[in-house]
């Protein structure tokens, strides 16, 4: 699982609304099964990178199970970045599919 892909997934999850680390991890596991299976904690360096880039912001709050957790929220920059990355990804996929069809 490349690092960039994890970041993209996180941004995609946050597009639905602010969420905390555990919930993000759950959501990613639901959609992509085993992406985070081996090392769920690797979500946190990725989140730090997003914070540093200014694509998400974080705020402490209380979870549905009354635990102190940090909620991450997509910023406008983050939304733009997601759009850009999706476009790149789709272009790349289209190109690969075209090659596969030819072969």
């Amino acid at each position: 699982m490349p690092k960039g892909a994890l970041a993209m997934l996180v941004l995609r999850v946050l597009q639905a609304g602010p969420s905390h680390g555990y919930a993000i991890a759950q959501r990613i596991r639901q959609v992509s099964g085993d992406v985070l299976d081996a090392e769920e904690g690797s979500l946190y360096p990725a989140l730090q990178r997003l914070l540093m880039e200014g694509w998400v912001t974080a705020e402490w709050g209380t979870s549905e199970t009354r635990r102190r957790v940090r909620f991450y929220k997509l910023t406008a920059d983050g939304a733009k970045q997601l759009k850009r990355e999706r476009k790149d990804y789709e272009q790349a996929t289209a190109a690969i599919q075209a090659i596969l069809r030819l072969a």
């Binding site: 555990y22 081996a38 769920e40 904690g41 690797s42 360096p45 914070l51 200014g54 635990r67």
Partner: protein, 833 residues
């Protein structure tokens, strides 16, 4: 904006690092707690993940830099000898450059302490005969009265030296009309000269230069109102010029006079409105606002044509006036001077030498630390990481050099300016551009020479030997070149300063009756000269009188360029000239009375035209006629002082030249005493000067350049010595064990010596050869400027002296480490391990 926010976030993370780390740990722990018990193992290594997160915050490089700096500082602190040596070399090399920049900056850009110097022009007149910036007083007064383009026009004439109450040789400046008021100078004491002082019948007044006021009058303000005797004329002192002003063409000035009183002080000068004889006034003007430079020049040119109309010989026909901004005029003067060019080149060479020196030291030091570096790389340090570490140390050295360089630079700039005897209004200031240039120089040179050394140090193959040898070669070549150049320059200075004049200049007085002024028929000229000669001959203390058209050291020159020969400096003299001047004959005889087509040549001319032959009786085509050589005299030396590539020829005075005759008097005692008697006896228009004063004027400039270049020679010597010392000392230290073993198994002193001396022999010798060749080429380029004894074309003595100095430096610098090697005690060395 995004970048700024990003940087700001990083800084925020750096400042709140501990809290953020705690929060991250808490967050991750909560996450783990929320996971189902059987999946908790899948969270991953929390410590490593935190580490990874911290790396995202990315101040890791800064942290590493901090560590590198601390480590570098410890390393440098641990080797104080190396550190101080390297910093000193950097400071020396760069300090000299800074000094040079400061002087250049001061001379060129901060020179003029007047208001709006940018709109002030200095004028010269240009014709097919050449360019001159000297104007006759009459022309200046005419321009001043008639022009409409200028806010003001002023002139200054610094060509006179005056006698004040028995004190001779004081520098004066004759300034026009409202000179000080126009330029906007405020007096230090009293008042300055104004246009009333220039009016006819005004009382004779003078103002004092600040330095002269300080040294001669002990800064006494009561000097104002005092009457002094200048050239035996009573003159009242009315004020003191401020410290910061020394004229528009700066030259230290003791006394300032209104130009109008020149006839009073200089016997025989006509009123300045009619004085076309002395073209020694420098002319300056400030354009009225809205008037272009071209319009100003055009007006002055047309005024000049009008002058030619009134006074046919005042200017050449077709002459036009050309202005130059004051600042530019100085820059041009600097560019023209070969001394400055040589100086700048030597300064850059010194920087190169310092850099090569430093690079070598760094490399040697890298070799000495080989074991440490090998261990660190074996433990997993990457090559890039090691280079970064070494460059950090170089960077620290650079900072040390930066701290020391400007201090050294300022001190040496001040020393140099003092040695040059520069006027007061050249002031040194450390300006921002200079500091920036200095800092950039230091870093560029440290990094440029540190980087290859650092690269080589972490490399494991043997190419470092090549780099080191080429650095040694560069260093040796540059040092050799610098020392030879300083040797030749210093020798040049000594040659021109030593009594190289073959005639007795000490006791000579030049009396110029200025008969050409009066446009008299030849017979009357002859008669007047005879009368004057007879009157002067009667004076007590006089040994002899003779006549010449171009008195030596007087600036009047007649130069003939013949193909394949040095410049022939012609003079026309009376038959008694040689005996009165005490200029000895080598062969032949002087002219006979009335002999016309004869010529007497100098020894150097004889050598150049008829090598290995007796020139007496030979025919020579000179001054438009075929002439017979009647005698050979010694080289007078007067022309050699200024032009190394010159020979001399003497012709009899033709009737047409008679009116330009100047009398030369040989005094038995003090020539100044005789000069006063001459002034008292002769009341016609004459100008009187002492030959020894002319000589001093000539020498002064040369002395300054020699001082400058000599000072660079000292720096070059220090650098060369330090470099050689470091080289050999290192070789000894590095091979101590090997040498110890060899001594233990019976090596003799000469074997040890041989080993040490041959180690760097190749690069040293090839460097020296390159240096000698470069020096020869360089000296070839400037040879016309260098004064040589006996008309030699190559300064073998100076060259040899420089080379000898270089060899001596090498030997002395090598001596102490080599002796240390010979004293190595084998048993002790082997125990050290």
């Amino acid at each position: 904006m995004r970048i700024v926010r990003k940087v700001w976030r990083r800084i925020y993370y750096l400042l709140n690092r501990q809290r953020l780390e705690r929060e991250l740990a808490e967050e991750m722990e909560t996450h783990r707690g929320m996971m189902a018990a059987e999946r908790r193992l899948h969270f991953g290594n929390a410590t490593r993940l935190r580490e990874e997160s911290r790396e995202v915050w990315s101040w890791i490089w800064l942290v590493q830099l901090g560590k590198d700096l601390r480590y570098g500082a410890r390393v440098l602190w641990g080797a104080p000898g190396f550190t101080l040596g390297a910093a000193a070399i950097l400071a020396l090399g760069i300090g000299v450059n800074l000094a040079e920049f400061q002087i250049f900056d001061a001379v060129v850009f901060h020179r003029i302490t007047i208001q709006g110097p940018d709109s002030v022009l200095q004028f010269s007149h240009v014709s097919r005969q050449g360019l001159s910036s000297g104007f006759p007083s009459a022309a200046v007064e005419f321009y001043r009265a008639e022009n409409t383009s200028f806010a003001w026009l002023v002139s200054e004439d610094t060509s006179f030296r005056v006698v004040v109450d028995g004190e001779t040789g004081l520098r004066s400046n004759f300034v026009s009309g409202n000179y000080f008021g126009n330029i906007g100078i405020i007096p230090a004491w009293g008042r300055l000269l104004n246009s009333r002082d220039a009016q006819p019948g005004a009382p004779a007044v003078a103002v004092l230069g600040y330095d002269y006021w300080q040294s001669r009058w002990m800064s006494d303000p009561h000097v104002i109102g005092r009457v002094i005797h200048v050239n035996n004329q009573p003159i009242e002192i009315v004020g003191v010029v401020p410290y910061s002003f020394d004229g528009l063409s700066p030259r230290q000035t003791a006394l300032w006079f209104p130009a109008a009183i020149r006839p009073l002080l200089v016997a025989g000068s006509p009123p300045i409105q009619q004085d076309f004889s002395r073209t020694t006034n420098a002319l300056f003007g400030k354009l009225k606002t809205g008037v272009s430079k071209a319009a100003g020049e055009a007006e002055l040119s047309s005024l000049t044509r009008e002058l030619i109309h009134r006074q046919p010989h005042s200017f050449h026909d077709s002459e036009r006036i050309q202005g130059q901004r004051l600042q530019e005029a100085v820059i041009h003067a600097v560019e023209r001077s070969p001394v400055i060019a040589i100086f700048i080149m030597m300064v850059l060479l010194i920087l190169l030498s310092a850099c090569a020196n430093l690079g070598n030291m760094l490399l040697t030091r890298g070799l000495a630390r080989q074991r440490e570096i090998d261990i660190r790389m074996a433990l997993g340090a990457s090559r890039a990481r090691m280079v970064r570490q070494l460059m950090t140390e170089n960077f620290l050295l650079g900072i040390l050099g930066t701290a020391a360089g400007p201090v050294f630079g300022t001190v040496s700039a001040r020393l140099l300016l003092n040695a040059l005897d520069t006027p007061r209004n050249i002031q040194l200031s450390i300006s921002w551009p200079i500091l920036v240039v200095g800092v950039v120089l230091i870093f560029v040179s440290t990094l440029a020479f540190g980087f290859p050394s650092a690269l080589q140090t972490v490399r494991t193959n043997s190419r470092k030997v090549h780099l080191r040898q080429s650095l040694v070669g560069v260093q040796v070549a540059v040092s050799c070149l610098l020392l030879i150049a300083s040797g030749v320059m210093a020798h040049n200075g000594i040659v021109s300063a030593s009594v190289d004049l073959a005639f007795d200049y000490q006791s000579m007085i030049i009396v110029d009756p200025q008969l050409y002024e009066q446009k008299l028929p030849a017979s009357i000229v002859q008669q007047k000269l005879n009368v004057l000669t007879t009157r002067l001959s009667a004076l007590p203390g006089l040994e002899g009188v003779t006549a010449t058209v171009a008195p030596p050291l007087g600036g009047r020159l007649m130069i003939e360029n013949l193909p394949g020969l040095p410049h022939v400096y012609r003079n026309a003299v009376a038959p008694s000239y040689f005996s009165v001047m005490k200029l000895p004959f080598v062969r032949g005889r002087t002219f006979l009375e009335g002999e016309q087509n004869a010529v007497i040549v100098s020894e150097s001319a004889a050598r150049a035209v008829w090598p290995n032959q007796d020139p007496v009786g030979k025919r020579w085509r000179l001054a438009g006629g075929e002439r017979t050589v009647t005698g050979v005299v010694r080289d007078s030396g007067a022309n050699l002082l200024a032009d190394a590539d010159s020979v001399e020829a003497y012709l009899p005075i033709q009737e047409a030249d008679e009116e330009r005759s100047t009398l030369v008097l040989h005094s038995r005692g003090d020539p100044a005493l005789l000069a006063r008697r001459v002034t008292a006896t002769v009341n016609e228009a004459v100008s009187i000067s002492l030959m020894r004063a002319s000589r001093e004027n000539l020498l002064e400039g040369q002395r300054k350049s020699v001082t400058l270049i000599g000072s660079l020679g000292v720096v070059a010597t220090i650098l060369a010595a330090a470099g050689m010392f470091a080289l050999v000392a290192f070789a000894v230290a590095q091979r101590k064990r090997e040498l110890g073993i060899r001594i233990a198994i019976g090596a003799r002193d000469r074997h040890i010596l041989g080993t040490l001396l041959t180690q760097n022999a190749r690069p040293t010798i090839s460097g020296a050869v390159v240096g000698v060749i470069l020096a020869a080429v360089l000296l070839r380029l400037v040879h016309g400027f260098i004064v040589l004894p006996n008309g030699d074309t190559v300064d073998v003595a100076g060259f040899a002296a420089g080379l000898a100095c270089f060899v001596l430096v090498v030997v002395l610098a090598t001596l102490s480490p080599v002796l240390r090697a010979l004293r190595i005690d084998p048993s002790e060395t082997l125990r050290e391990e």
